[in-house]
Symmetry: D2
Subunit: 364 residues, 4 copies
Amino acid sequence: MSNTTGQLFRVTTFGESHGPAIGCVIDGCPPGIAIAEGDFAHDLARRATGRSRHTSARREADAVEILSGVYDGVTTGTPIALLVRNTDARSKDYAAITRQFRPGHADYSYWQKYGIRDPRGGGRASARETTMRVTAAVIARKWLRERHGVEVRGYLSRLGEHAPTGHDWAAVEANPFFWPAAGDVPALEAYMDALRKSGDSVGAEVTVVADGVPPGWGEPVYGKLDAELAAAMMSINAVKGVEIGAGFAAVTQKGSEHRDVMTPQGFRSNHAGGVLGGISTGQQIVVRTAFKPTSSLRLPVQGLDVDGNVVDVITTGRHDPCVGIRATPICEAMLALVLIDQALRHRAQCGDVGAVSPRVPGGG
Amino acid sequence: MSNTTGQLFRVTTFGESHGPAIGCVIDGCPPGIAIAEGDFAHDLARRATGRSRHTSARREADAVEILSGVYDGVTTGTPIALLVRNTDARSKDYAAITRQFRPGHADYSYWQKYGIRDPRGGGRASARETTMRVTAAVIARKWLRERHGVEVRGYLSRLGEHAPTGHDWAAVEANPFFWPAAGDVPALEAYMDALRKSGDSVGAEVTVVADGVPPGWGEPVYGKLDAELAAAMMSINAVKGVEIGAGFAAVTQKGSEHRDVMTPQGFRSNHAGGVLGGISTGQQIVVRTAFKPTSSLRLPVQGLDVDGNVVDVITTGRHDPCVGIRATPICEAMLALVLIDQALRHRAQCGDVGAVSPRVPGGG
Amino acid sequence: MSNTTGQLFRVTTFGESHGPAIGCVIDGCPPGIAIAEGDFAHDLARRATGRSRHTSARREADAVEILSGVYDGVTTGTPIALLVRNTDARSKDYAAITRQFRPGHADYSYWQKYGIRDPRGGGRASARETTMRVTAAVIARKWLRERHGVEVRGYLSRLGEHAPTGHDWAAVEANPFFWPAAGDVPALEAYMDALRKSGDSVGAEVTVVADGVPPGWGEPVYGKLDAELAAAMMSINAVKGVEIGAGFAAVTQKGSEHRDVMTPQGFRSNHAGGVLGGISTGQQIVVRTAFKPTSSLRLPVQGLDVDGNVVDVITTGRHDPCVGIRATPICEAMLALVLIDQALRHRAQCGDVGAVSPRVPGGG
Amino acid sequence: MSNTTGQLFRVTTFGESHGPAIGCVIDGCPPGIAIAEGDFAHDLARRATGRSRHTSARREADAVEILSGVYDGVTTGTPIALLVRNTDARSKDYAAITRQFRPGHADYSYWQKYGIRDPRGGGRASARETTMRVTAAVIARKWLRERHGVEVRGYLSRLGEHAPTGHDWAAVEANPFFWPAAGDVPALEAYMDALRKSGDSVGAEVTVVADGVPPGWGEPVYGKLDAELAAAMMSINAVKGVEIGAGFAAVTQKGSEHRDVMTPQGFRSNHAGGVLGGISTGQQIVVRTAFKPTSSLRLPVQGLDVDGNVVDVITTGRHDPCVGIRATPICEAMLALVLIDQALRHRAQCGDVGAVSPRVPGGG
């Protein structure tokens, strides 16, 4: 079930970068959620390429067609199929690399696994697939918000060596980087312009948070909330690391420093990132994800072809110099998809009732 | 299915820290693997407490009884049930905290989720559960070694601020820390002695690797090898972060630096950590895991009780000052469990045949 | 995962009878199977309505569009999405029953479950969904045939009180009933003409068989081959009973009569229907399925509306007087889908090697 | 996951007939159910052999040990492991058939699948495994009763050619056959005595019903309530057929006869067996299951050995002349396990709220 995520809110995606379409089927969606085809546009635009010079020039319409599961404007509980036609695929860009393995790409591993691969635009391994994650998450976020008051947000917390000099949620949507400090943006733009000109790429880090998650979501011991978040983030193209709360900084922390003290007024800190024992505590859920630099560079590199010959590989397709720039909406989507799934699983086992007392406010 | 890991090599664990027993059921194990009850002792001893002064004083026999699935000394393909009786549980140590929530512990989140919890020794949230992960992995490792020549190893790569000053696999098993640099051990011992005396704890980082993994294991896009490794590691108690290959260091790398060049003689580097597009490349699989400092301290801390009152919490049970010290065998176990599961899934879809040519040696 | 069937060859279907489209996603398909859009037409025509006066007059083009997972004419191992647009839906026929519950229909149970239903043409509960089962099974049957020499066939073994007076496979495809005795067909036609004129409907029984299944497919104890066949058949609209081999006749059999004697030349009988202990024996797999008479009748009947009022229900849409008539291809499809899934699961656990000796020919 | 049944109330069983123990792990059980080790005795005694001369003479203590998941007398939401030691296994009875394949048995199919089998007492293929189904269902039945008022009951509805001459629930528990007509019992006893003396065996049919199931349980289209009931029953040893409601009798019914008319006072009939479109209607759930005659007979029969030689097979172990006699509690157990699983799945997707109006009383 490698193309399905979730156990109860099950999203199955399909489609190749340069195939006729991409899409998904959502199975297990609660009935009664109001959904229209226009509801997807905002989130898809945030993820889309072609909106600034800092992302790939590919410009897709990303028009979502609802094929099933919605009647009279609301979800019916039956599977929701969502379809997006590919409209701006330029497969000829890939003719040269049809028989080559690009270093750092999935070309070689797909070839080794399946004995065949669709080389056009990266095929199934393209980040185009994440379009459907964002699409499916629109419905998940709506349910989380309306039923539980849960809000999922995110921002770019590292762009190469750059770190934000401040944090202002209002700034995040006002620049093409999802950067939380408006004053840093000119420097980032200059940095990206230089990088693009050089033909090289760079890594990035995205932070996503969820506010309003009630205590009790998450299933120990193998379905822990943080375990599923780690898998969800790592399943995104180009991700090499995931942290919850203090993350790797916990390695050098003392226990007396790390443990978050609870008071009747709330937690005093949030090193846990909102998860203890794999179950939400009511605090903010905090997840950080590391993105590698894309390997599709104009800079030539030595590679191999399918006959084992050494060749010079030059990638001429349209690519992002930093895939992390567009990754914030994708990480948000995965966080939302994990949360709705855990919410439904919690409801299955423990019922619809709220958390028991005493309930500590999720501060800290 | 929160207490089951794996899709085809399915391990279901059960048991509380101070209950009568812990155990597991392995379903889907290939038939014909030679297994005897004595085969588990070595790996369990590596994970066990009570073997040095640097871990908890609890000393369990960890005797494994094979209840089913093995006949005439070999696995039969039917479910293998393995049972370990708890023999050194001291539940009275926990009387004081039966109605208290320890900061940084799963006490509060279990209570909120289920409305009830077994407080004795942490109940299900205890690291005692990981005994069965190591036990089940003994069989997985045997199959991986015998059938595919895959070897899984690991070491402690950070102990608080300490980093190894060298790397020698031979050193790892010769000290109680799984530390790869023999010369550093006296300093670590002094550090841990001081820490234990202070009543505090500290975090750590474990690195595990797998050699000999053929290209082709891993299922895009949600069952990627690295995604499942991330979930597997994050499902271990106290883990706050997971990295594959370059991990978070990839954030500041350039693409020209990160991409691993392939030559007919092998890969020139391994920033990918052996995984591209979620599929193994034939290189060494490299996973790093961050462990937080345990929150069970003798140092008093403010907490809440089940009635919402503020109380002073002092943990008097036997605890590890650094849970990461014993975590190397557990991380190895999870790596092995993910690998065997992916191996079987690959065989299901793509058959038993080896990888196709050209095949790049897994160097780098 | 209620709209997904199979564990490793996973087929997820979606779509309502009168929605814009129906479709499916096949995940886990082995790579390298040659598939073209024209390959589906033959099997879909066998299932389709509107081909004889004995089935519903609805006439769909049933044109299959391959959206993903096939490159250069062969499957790539990535998810295969197949789409069929609905072209002949007449939703206005259903206006009258939008707020009524038809007796014997899923109207009431869907309403109770979800609090909403799509009444057009039965919505998701329509047999239209089975189009995608037949479509997906085209690929399964191809793999089963090419790789294992397995052939799946079926016929109508009861039409109301009528039973075949002989058995000739050649006859089955030569009449609109899938009836194995050509001489009986005129009587069946007269019977169906009278039934249709009366406005009533009748039940039927379908028998499907698989030849060439090697011994060893099936997973005890809850994934038994026969258990999954039972679920697969019972998941088809209007099915009320499933038998394997002797089926209910085994109730009055003696053990000395039922047990199938093995000889080096083959089995002497096949009361088992090709399955012992949930695992195939190498004999012919035999499954019989009982279809109820459709409840969509022109004959008025008392029903209830959504406000609880008693109303007269008259179904004016286009319906089959005997849904069993078109059910043979659907039962074949489900048999094929179960077999390929079990074949892949067997390969995962036990490898690609053939059965061990002694191997009894599958006669009897 | 062949040894696990259920998606959310997951029961994994293990153990061979003559191994040291059998057991199960229940994962996903709602917290807060009061359970003690003595709660299992009543249902296990109903299933046990050795209680009358009409069943096998094997007499097991069937003492259930709770290993985990229960604290302070109630379930905690963590996995519940239940263990039953085998105490009356006589493996020497099976020495003769260690290298033989008994006709009608799983000996041959297990051998072909796994290349190895545990021949003692049928190994994993023994009906001994069903002990754990009954054990697990004790908890399921308790939850169904206490939370939803659902009662599961059953009886033997055919014993070879014999059919009950009346129906009295009070009679069922008062005879060793679960027979619903007390007056028939002497004739059945004579019949069974003669059968046992002859060394032969006979088939049987069991009917189980559930009262009080609310409308709305069941997940179309592949997780239909009736589809999962069919799989559950067919997964029991020796089952060859399953019917819901009218079952195979629907083949000869007219639609005007089959469809169950709804009135504000209730349904007028129950040909549907309580399920429409795969979802419960609120009527009584009715399932009938056909059991084949056991193939373990004292009457010699020709068979094969592992070297392919023709041999005379005589089964000398202790066996039931009619396995159906003890099957009523097992069928009840499977019905209960399917119901609790569907109840939790319904709660996950649609919430805890009751069914919507209008609600038809479940009469008929």
